[in-house]
């Protein structure tokens, strides 16, 4: 599914590097004209701010994702007393059936968790993928050949399947929360980097013969300097787009794993665990299902639209026709 990005990015992204104006400003001007992308950027920023704010708000006792209120869930089958999941001035989006925790607080904290692991895994993915792609593309020959085989090898293992398959080995019994966090980040990145490595490699292949690179080389710049100072800046575009599109897939993966029970121990909420907990209540407490559902969809949707917009803005062909 991420393979699409390779295609969308194509070999056009870096073409901007040889234009007169800096590619960044061109891109930004294009972006500002694109209302949908700007709106999704705003949503992404808002969600990120909420994710950062949640632990602070908790420390200030503004939100409380943990404390049970059994007295608020005395309906048949322990659903919240009152309509809309028992929404009130105290609990804006209602409380959790059976236990009475504040739903809004839990979703905000879930955002914090999901953003943290997804961002960390994305960073690790980018680190590995870019390094391998750069080295592979720049050195060519046997380095490229062997790294490409490794990339192919890792690519053969579907990421989600590996997340599931490796869990009994690395999470153990009982699964500690810190272990789960490390496991998610590492395994997501470990089976997620090859796509980016491929994109970067093909970019580098075309870049390394460009004049400014050959010029730098003839001036005696070492390979590390060329890779980091000359090539890497030109690759910011594809890396940014890739990161934007891969991050929400990691959030989705977290939710899918939570569905399979591979997640944090309670009472710590993640978007996935809150959503999963709400699934059985699809008929008896629909509001409860909607809140984490909408939050998750918003994250995935906003990041994808933003990624699309970024790719479009960086693509010199867009705007034709």
């Amino acid at each position: 599914m991420i393979t699409e990005i390779e295609d969308v990015l194509g070999d056009h992204v870096t073409a901007g590097a040889i234009e007169g104006r800096s590619p960044g400003s061109v891109t930004w001007q294009r972006l500002r004209r694109d209302r949908i992308t700007m709106a999704s950027l705003a949503v992404v920023v808002l969600l990120a701010l909420l994710a950062i704010a949640a632990p602070i708000l908790r420390a200030l006792h503004v939100i409380d994702p943990d404390t049970p209120h059994p007295e608020l869930v005395q309906g048949l089958g322990s659903v919240p007393t009152g309509p809309f999941s028992g929404a009130s001035a105290e609990h804006w989006l209602g409380v959790v059936p059976g236990v009475g925790q504040d739903v809004l607080s839990r979703v905000l904290f879930g955002l914090t968790f999901d953003f943290t692991i997804a961002a960390a895994a994305t960073a690790l993915t980018v680190l590995i993928g870019t390094t391998v792609g750069l080295v592979s593309g720049y050195y060519g020959r046997w380095v490229d050949a062997s790294l490409s085989r490794v990339t192919d090898l890792v690519l053969a293992f579907p990421q989600l399947l590996m997340l599931i398959a490796l869990s009994p080995l690395f999470l153990g019994q009982p699964p500690r929360n810190t272990r789960v966090v490390v496991y998610l980040i590492v395994v997501l990145a470990l089976f997620g980097w090859p796509y980016l490595a491929r994109v970067i490699r093909s970019e580098v292949l075309s870049l390394r013969e460009l004049e400014y690179v050959t010029a730098a080389r003839s001036l005696g710049a070492g390979p590390v300097r060329i890779l980091v100072r000359e090539l890497l800046p030109a690759l910011r575009g594809p890396i940014l787009v890739y990161a934007t599109i891969v991050l929400p897939t990691y959030v989705s993966a977290e939710a899918a794993l939570a569905y399979l029970g591979i997640s944090l121990q309670p009472p710590f909420p993640t978007l996935g665990t809150v959503l999963n907990d709400a699934l059985p209540y699809v008929t008896s407490d629909t509001t409860y299902l909607l809140v984490p559902g909408v939050a998750l969809v918003l994250v995935v949707l906003a990041f994808n639209l933003l990624g699309d917009g970024l790719a479009d803005a960086m693509n010199p062909r867009s705007g034709q026709m």
Binding site: M1, T3, E4, D7, V8, R149, D152, L153, L155, A156, F157, P158, Q159, L160, L161, M162, L163, I164, A165, L166, S167, P168, L169, F170, G172, P248, S252, A255, A256, Y259, L260, G261, L275, L279, V282, T283, G293, L296, V297, V300, L301, N304, L305, D308, R317, Q320, M321
Partner: protein
């Protein structure tokens, strides 16, 4: 061409070999006791050591890997105990070549388990693939033709929203609400195609939709982008200038030029789909390879997990080859 094919096939065989070694190392060489994992319920130290022996886990990893390779070629007995074979032949399970191992939690060979699971996963994957390609490419073309209009934006938006819902969420809503509660979709389940084609189709409809939804949005966007490219290309402009009808231009030239790269990506996606199928199978209780692996994870049944991973990796590698070969056939520009 032949030389190219031969070269690729040899490379694939080497790759599969490497995959099997990596998988083995990953699952059997890590710290921890796989025998404890294979023990499952009511584990006692005696049972652990018994399992360790029965599964050959008391040997070194290289010997175990050797057993695995030997089993692939010549088959194996579980447990491999001549004494027991003599006294209670009924307790011995023979596993014919290519033997993939023995599942302690299911007390049968992995071949049996996966043999039953494979048709389910194949049916699910191929059906969903056809669905997402038809719908995705179709809507993509429509979107490209109506570029910038309401239809275009609506299509992109709606499919993207569909994509944004997690697979398990879509699946459960389709199952519990759409199918069971309101009866708008036939009740999901798996019947063999050969046994009852109608039942096969109706039982898989909801799972197909669920799985396809995760991909449709991507193909709508991909097709749209490709179509826009090729519609803007010189020869399409020429065709248009020559007065060809609009729909002919779109279909004959635009789509034809767009299809090969789409198919390439599709080939890769269908191979990598096994994670998403696992979730779909789990939601709809289809006994495919993915849900079998998930069940095995709960029971820590390593032979099944390892085989599931191997099957997935093999599928990716083989389909990669198929795509490359197809591409070579379709696009004469490709050099071998």
């Amino acid at each position: 061409m032949l030389a190219y094919v031969v070269r690729r096939v040899i490379a694939i065989v080497l790759m599969l070999f490497a995959i099997s070694i990596v998988t083995y190392l990953l699952f059997y060489a890590i710290p921890g006791d796989p025998a404890r994992l294979t023990c499952g319920k009511s584990c006692t130290p005696e049972l652990i050591s018994q399992n360790r022996q029965a599964l050959g886990l008391d040997r070194s990893i290289t010997v175990q890997y050797g057993h695995f390779l030997h089993g692939l070629v010549a088959g194996r007995n579980f447990p491999d105990d001549p004494e027991l074979a003599r006294t209670h032949p009924k307790f011995i399970t023979h596993c014919d070549a290519p033997c993939l191992g023995y599942s302690p939690s299911r007390q049968t060979t992995v071949n049996n388990v996966m043999g039953r699971a494979a048709p389910v996963t194949l049916s699910l994957t191929i059906g969903a693939f056809v669905l997402w390609m038809l719908v995705g490419v179709g809507l993509g073309v429509l979107s490209a033709v109506r570029r910038g209009r309401i239809v275009d934006k609506l299509l992109l938006g709606v499919t993207l929203i569909g994509y944004s819902f997690p697979t398990f969420f879509v699946g459960l809503v389709l199952y519990d609400i759409v199918s069971v509660k309101y009866g708008l979709l036939p009740s999901p389940g798996y019947v063999a195609l050969t046994q009852d084609p109608g039942g096969w189709f109706s039982g898989l409809l909801a799972p197909w939709i669920t799985l396809a939804l995760a991909y449709t949005a991507l193909y709508v966007r991909l097709t749209r982008a490709r179509m826009l490219d090729s519609l803007a290309s010189d020869y399409v402009r020429t065709a248009r200038a020559k007065g060809l009808r609009a729909d002919q231009v779109v279909l004959k030239h635009g789509l034809r030029a767009s299809l090969p790269p789409i198919m390439t990506l599709a080939g890769l996606d269908i191979a990598g789909v096994l994670g998403a199928t696992a979730i779909t199978e789990q939601v709809f209780h289809l006994d495919g390879i993915g849900s079998t692996v998930i069940e095995a994870v709960k029971e820590a049944d390593l032979p099944i997990i390892v085989t599931g991973v191997l099957i997935a990796a093999t599928a990716v590698v083989v389909l990669n080859l198929v795509v490359d070969l197809l591409y070579a056939v379709v696009d004469p520009k490709v050099r071998y």
